[in-house]
């Protein structure tokens, strides 16, 4: 499971560099996320713009990451493809996450 992590001011931006988070990769995704979120940041944004498909195992893994971050850091999502968005919408998990169209910028950090 390839991820990239980039600390942009107070935002840790993690991009998933794979086209799927599914039953074959959900555990590796959770393990890698646990590693990269050790970096201290106020916010964590998961950039899913390269992910075209996510199944219920992948959804469960994203929820597990949110819970593992604890109450002080929220997991935000960005760049959901239509099929990924459908999974979040139908399961009502879109109410749980802050979802951005594009990766947000840290205002203080910009420029």
């Amino acid at each position: 499971m390839n991820l990239s992590a980039d600390l942009q001011g107070s935002i840790l931006v993690i991009a998933v560099l794979e086209d799927r988070i599914d039953a074959a990769s959900a555990i590796q995704f959770k393990d890698r996320m646990r590693e990269v979120t050790q970096t201290v940041s106020d916010r964590v944004v998961l950039d899913l713009s390269q992910v075209t498909f996510l199944d219920s195992s992948g959804l469960g893994a994203v929820v597990a990451v949110l819970k593992a971050l604890g109450p002080l850091r929220k997991l935000e999502l960005s760049g959901l493809s239509p099929t990924v968005q459908k999974v979040f919408r139908l399961t009502r998990m879109e109410q749980v996450f802050t979802i951005h169209d594009q990766v947000p910028h840290d205002v203080q950090h910009a420029g």
């Binding site: 074959a24 075209t52 199944d55 219920s56 469960g60 099929t83 999974v87 399961t91 009502r92």
Partner: protein, 158 residues
Amino acid sequence: MMCNMRADRRRAWRMHPPPPPARLRILLDADPRAVRAGLRRLLTTTPMCDLSDDFRGTTEIVLAEVLNNVVEHAYAGQGGQIEVTLDYEHPILSFEVADTGVSMPAGRLPVGALTPLQPDTDLPEGGFGWFLIRTLTQGMTYRRRSDGNRLTFWMEAE
């Protein structure tokens, strides 16, 4: 899942009568990587490539959930074979999924209700699969026989 077919050909299809009836049967091993490969085969060839991206996405969600359930529950991760038959006759896309694993719990289809989200309770990390299958299909049957399980479900292409 990207289609092999060129976009201009797909657009051309849509201006013409719906794709002709088609049937496709594949056999796959019951493990998550083989499920990925099986989905790719089913979703990137005709008739699926002749249907809309949105409907293909919906079909992939349903089929992935059904097949991964067979891997994880019918075969309990121990492996086996899954036979998938796709039938398309406009506008109905139907699938039959057969395996020789153990029965569904109590010999019947799960209800597939979603755990309600409540404040101050732990968020669910599972229980989404059957909900998605039930929500995105128009009908489903399940038969348990001495030689295994046979699940059929169908969806209407928009």
